[in-house]
């Protein structure tokens, strides 16, 4: 316990000493406050605390769709763009030097010559990286939680699901970073490697989506709308689906993990939150639920998404931990 506290406090001090840490937390809070600045009045939606806005009969103070719209912005725009991209990139860059710096000549010796096993030291250090992502998302969600209460009048604790999910997604990439950091002791190499895996995961997901639509609906996206496939082509896609989606299966599911939030965030405590409803609302002005889209969005189970990603992470960590324990300093 005493050792854990020592490593943890040290990690906090490391983060606190980084300008990036404060910048990231600051931007994070700013994004949350921007969200807070969106409100509703008797005519419609307002932005920047009423500085501008538009009129809408569905979206105004007290309308049932207002909460859904407000939460929709949270889980689609804020979570997808802010928390799962920008904030994670900033967190990765902030945490990148944790291992390389620790393992530098003349600095690892002190910790390694203490009565603490290497594997413990490794995990304490690893956890201290997660701590950062946790703090950042935690603060963000707390502001969002208050914003929802202020703007639509309900307490919605389900937004706090963002904390574990974003931390989870960060942890996939963090494990890559740790593995490369331990091997190369290079900050640059570990940042690049994690971004590469992230990009790879994104490509793999895009490919999987394409193959799935082709196999399931016999349709592929084209320059204009979509293109119908012949029966034979569709069958071909069906046969090859598992091969084509192999990369997707093996790599961590970064965006899918964060998108689980859309299944977990509730409106008025019960109704399941439907993305298609929101999309239609924005496109046509009427909230119509599209079951096909909903089904497509949920075709992978939570267990598969998180389980296979954690398997990837476990492999990375096992490799990193093994290297960390075996090497000479």
């Amino acid at each position: 316990m005493r050792q854990f506290v020592a490593v943890f406090v040290d990690a906090l001090r490391l983060l606190r000493a980084r300008a990036l840490f404060w910048i990231t937390l600051g931007i994070s809070a700013l994004a949350a406050v921007l969200y807070l600045s969106i409100g509703f009045d008797e005519n419609g939606v307002t932005f920047l605390f009423g500085a501008s806005g538009f009129e809408s009969e569905f979206l105004r103070e007290g309308s049932p769709l207002a909460e859904m719209f407000y939460l929709g912005i949270f889980s689609m725009i804020i979570v997808n763009l802010w928390l799962s991209w920008i904030a994670v990139i900033l967190a990765l860059i902030t945490c990148a030097p944790v291992f390389p710096e620790f393992m530098a000549e003349g600095s690892a010796g002190v910790a390694l010559s203490k009565p603490i096993s290497r594997i413990k030291l490794f995990f304490y250090k690893y956890l201290s990286g997660l701590l950062f992502a946790f703090l950042q998302t935690g603060i963000f969600c707390a502001i969002v939680f208050l914003a929802i209460r202020l703007q639509v009048g309900t307490w919605n604790p389900s937004v706090f699901w963002a904390v574990p999910l974003v931390v989870l997604m960060f942890s996939y990439l963090w494990s890559v970073m740790v593995a490369v950091g331990v091997r190369t002791r290079s900050v640059m190499a570990s940042v690049l490697a994690s971004l590469l895996v992230w990009f790879g995961a994104w490509i793999a997901k895009t490919v999987e989506e394409y193959a799935w639509t082709a196999a399931e609906f016999g349709e592929v996206p084209a320059a204009q709308g979509s293109m119908r496939l012949t029966e034979a082509e569709q069958k071909g896609w069906r046969d090859r689906y598992s091969q084509v989606s192999l990369a997707y299966t093996l790599l961590p599911k970064t965006s899918d993990t964060v998108n689980l939030l859309q299944r977990l965030v509730t409106v008025q405590g019960q109704k399941k939150f439907a993305v298609s409803e929101l999309l239609n609302l924005m496109a046509t002005g009427a909230p119509v639920r599209d079951d096909e889209v909903e089904e497509a969005l949920e075709r992978h189970s939570v267990g598969f998404i998180i389980g296979s990603s954690l398997a990837f992470e476990a492999v990375m960590l096992a490799f990193a931990g093994w290297s960390f324990c075996r090497r000479d300093y």
């Binding site: 001090r13 530098a104 010796g109 010559s113």
Partner: protein, 307 residues
């Protein structure tokens, strides 16, 4: 008899095909100051790191404080100042000492008290709350020394403790080392600065090319050959000189060198000279300087190496 603080029976370390340590055997008595000497790249740091589990030795048999080398819990009783110690820039001197205390499982209250004392001892009290990044090289080294002692260790390993420290600081560090010995700790110092080690060490080992070339007390290493020198008033007369040289003694000007088990053995020679009317000005026991012992040891290993 209490077991030695460090007892290495057999220690080897290979980096790929390069042998950094070859079958090193070494014994460090408790409560002594032990100096490990050697040229750059001899393997001194590797030896210490192997004892502290920082480097994984290829083969290792021996004990540290009576426990098998590599035994984790024993490390709570060990202090260490690494070579080129680089503590995080963002920590203050006090925090660095506190961090080590935490990892060594020193209870928080006790750690605080000891940190206070130690920072005072190393002369860093007024600077304790400034960031490490603002310290000079010597100040960092002092903080490093303080953190090495925070867990009240039985043995302290100092890898080139005076590296980058000014002459005043070196004297202070020497005093700190002497104080550690008075407190009953064993101090293991790595250095290539012979003069410094000579001043504090009770025992030394000389290392070269990953091997221990010589080891023992300073006393035994420097006078090992039992050589005595007699100096006469004016040059040794020619006929006496020829006679002595005939007996295999070295004579040069007014100096006569002889080997004998002890001073008694030389008396006969003195009598002989006196009987011939030679006036003796001085008789002394010849000692090698540590430098000579060092160079000889390193050269002999070097020669074996090239064969």
């Amino acid at each position: 008899m209490e077991a030695a603080a460090v007892e290495i029976e057999h220690l080897s370390k290979r980096y790929g095909r390069f042998e950094a340590l070859r079958e090193v055997a070494l014994s460090v008595p408790r409560g002594s100051v032990f100096g490990l000497l050697g040229p750059n790249g001899a393997g001194k740091s590797t030896l210490v790191k192997s004892l502290l589990t920082i480097v994984r030795p290829t083969e290792c048999r021996g004990t540290l404080l009576g426990e098998r080398i590599g035994h984790r819990r024993t490390l709570a009783k060990v202090g260490y100042l690494p070579e080129h110690a680089r503590f995080p820039e963002y920590l203050t001197g006090r925090q660095i000492v506190g961090f080590t205390a935490g990892l060594a499982k020193v209870p928080a209250k006790q750690a605080k008290r000891r940190a206070e004392e130690l920072l005072e001892t190393v002369g860093m009290k007024d600077w304790a709350d400034r960031k490490n990044g603002t310290y000079s090289k010597g100040m960092r080294q002092r903080v490093g020394l303080a953190q090495a002692l925070v867990n009240d260790p039985e043995i302290v390993f100092l890898d080139e403790p005076t590296d980058g420290v000014d002459p005043g600081g070196r004297i202070e560090i020497r005093k700190i080392i002497e104080r550690m010995r008075e407190e009953g700790r064993t101090v293991f110092v790595n250095s290539h600065l012979l003069g410094e080690v000579e001043q504090v060490a009770d025992e030394v080992a000389i290392m070269a090319h990953g091997r221990i070339a010589e080891s023992g007390t300073l006393e035994s290493l420097t006078r090992r050959d039992n050589r005595y020198e007699i100096r006469t008033l004016g040059p040794v007369p020619a006929e006496v000189r020829a006679e002595l040289e005939g007996d295999g003694l070295e004579v040069a000007g007014d100096r006569i060198a002889s080997t004998a088990a002890d001073a008694k053995g030389v008396q006969q020679l003195i009598d002989r000279l006196r009987s011939r009317g030679v006036v003796i000005r001085e008789m002394k026991e010849l000692r090698f300087t540590l430098e000579e012992v060092f160079l000889k040891a390193v050269q002999s290993v070097g020669k074996e190496e090239s064969r």
